[in-house]
Assembly symmetry: C2
Homo-oligomer: 135 residues x 2
DNA sequence: TCAACTCCTTTCACTTTTCAAGTTAAATGG
DNA sequence: CCATTTAACTTGAAAAGTGAAAGGAGTTGA
């Protein structure tokens, strides 16, 4: 399904998705047109889901990166899920098996905002907090 | 430092980083050239760290998404860190404060590979495993 | 008021993309 | 064995986008 050239294309696009098709072609030993048509195919197959940017969250003022393990007490998760949808600090809400029911990945601009978030979260569930201090 | 137009630009590029500068300009009510120069500025400021793609990991055959909390026994983390560097299944290795020393985010192609990984990891540290079952 | 500065637009030469047509090579079937 | 089909690539040309230079409008401060 995916040959070596496709792998190389995904690699190069992961490194820089704004590369021109001509340049991409040179890197994988194809013409720009051939590279472009492979990329289109990868998009159609759903292998490439989209093109995006990496943003420096610190420079945007979101300096606190947290993982929050959520342990819901109630059987009914709906109130929690509704809460999650409303919080824009949440980057991902993973349903997990293992320690806890959900794992939240969040970014906060300040300690105060984090405290507020945890207070609100605590109305629906218990949690364990992990703060990222390095990557 | 960042005005509303810059925010809009970041939003649009997050949605689609391969958009042409001309189109981006139209979306934020600028000419393509003006949009391009703002983007260059955002790059120079380090706000935009890079351009990348979202790849469907399932279609690449990496169907298991795991978070692994790592609790190192030894004071010396170096053997663990060396191990981490060598594993290509690891997407992120976060140093955390809270429950554990590190949090690993990984993708595995099979259960067997996960078991192998955990066996190897266990030579350097204890762990707690969480498997993502939904997002 | 004037100079300096920032941010934007216009213009134009140059590059890239897109689309159509042609080539090649491997697989299929009489 | 040869004709046919198909997939993947290349070539070429028109259309579209980019980047650099020049210039205009608005703001700031002496």
């Amino acid at each position: 399904m995916l040959d070596h050239t496709d792998q190389r294309i995904l690699e190069e696009l992961s490194r820089n998705s704004r590369i021109t098709m001509k340049e991409l072609g040179e890197k994988v030993h194809l013409t720009g047109q051939a590279a472009a048509s492979r990329v289109t195919k990868l998009e159609d197959q759903g292998v490439i889901e989209g093109y995006t940017i990496k943003v420096n969250q610190e420079k945007l003022g979101n300096s606190i990166h947290a993982f929050i393990t959520v342990i819901t007490q109630s059987m009914n998760h709906q109130p929690y899920l509704t809460f999650v949808k409303a919080q824009k600090e949440i980057i991902h809400n993973y349903k997990i098996s293992g320690d806890g029911c959900y794992l939240l990945e969040c970014k906060f601009p300040s300690n105060g905002r984090l405290v507020q978030f945890l207070t609100d979260l605590n109305k629906h569930a218990n949690y364990k907090l992990s703060i990222v201090i390095n990557k």
